[in-house]
Amino acid sequence: MKQENYWKKLSLSLFLIGGVVIGCKEQSSGPLPILGPYKVQDNIVDGVLKTDTNFTTVRPFSFVDQDGNEVSHATLEGKIYVTDFFFTSCPTICPKMKQQMLRLYDDFEGNADVLFLSHSIDPKRDSVTRLHDYAEKLGISSARWHLMTGDRDSIYSMAKHYMIAAQEDKLAPGGYAHSGAFLLVDRNKQIRGIYDGTDAEDVDKLAHDINGLLNDEIHP
């Protein structure tokens, strides 16, 4: 009897482990989650209870890019975009992030539906002129990749809104500490993924997820 229990337990555990393994595999090709806070609302429609989950969308903003053009929700109408936070004199992870974003920018060349938005967290030094110079050296156009500056507080609160860490830090190289994350935002202004912008493999996954959104395969 005891022996039988043991086998039962063992097979149950194996089954569960198997389920987890298969679950993990499926996750990578399943629909992308919608990230960020959400509200659950109960509505009664025709006498039937319906529960709706409302996800927060990226809130409106207004920044200026390397060509002095305003970037706002109007710029992003119907677009998928990848966004990050950096500064031009950053001596640590930013060049790597820019190398990886440049790879995406090249990969999606010719696709006007995919935009890139990089916020400078050093608006004091990163003037439009300086961003213009940086963009030119990187070989990118503001038609698809906006290097943005703006009101300092708006930029930092935008980082918080995107759930990306960024702060002034006198001890950090270059004077600022920030995350190397890339965020993927869909056409509905919902955040669909957070990736490590310094890691080529994770950026490959981001490219894969962009294609998914473009093909509408992974809409929930």
Partner: protein, 132 residues
């Protein structure tokens, strides 16, 4: 007696530096730590922002200056493989002479196919000339 002494010195050196100690291993590790965030993982540089240090004519033509360049940094304009770069590279005052020597070795031999690198004594002499 002499051989025992040298063997023990050698083993001690190996212990101190880990089992895979080779100049180019330390050079590579230092490159990854200090240089690759701007000059990229293969030393290929990034656009017109950061010049390449691999297969770079500037490196080969200025090899006697590399040690000083790494230690003191450089600012202004320079031309690498026909492309002009303007900017600033901070110095690395924290690096020891041996570390700079290994880094120069890695850059010259592994990234620029140079057959010979410098002896530590030569690097010391080069650094002496740009001491601040």
């Amino acid at each position: 007696m002499k051989s025992i002494l040298s063997v023990s010195i050698l083993s001690a050196a190996l212990l101190m530096n880990g089992c895979d100690y080779k100049p180019r291993n330390q050079g590579k590790a230092l490159f990854e730590k200090e240089c690759q965030s701007c000059h990229m993982e293969k030393g290929q540089g990034l656009g017109k922002l950061f010049p390449p240090v691999a297969n770079a004519d500037y490196v080969v033509n200025n090899k006697t200056q590399l040690a000083c360049l790494i230690r003191n940094g450089i600012e202004g304009q320079l031309t690498v493989n026909g492309q002009e770069y303007t900017g600033e590279m901070e110095g690395n005052l924290q690096l020891t002479e041996i570390e700079i020597s290994n880094l120069v070795h890695y850059i010259l031999v592994d990234l620029n196919n140079q057959k010979d690198a410098y002896q530590i004594s030569e690097i010391k002499a080069q650094l002496e000339l740009c001491k601040k």
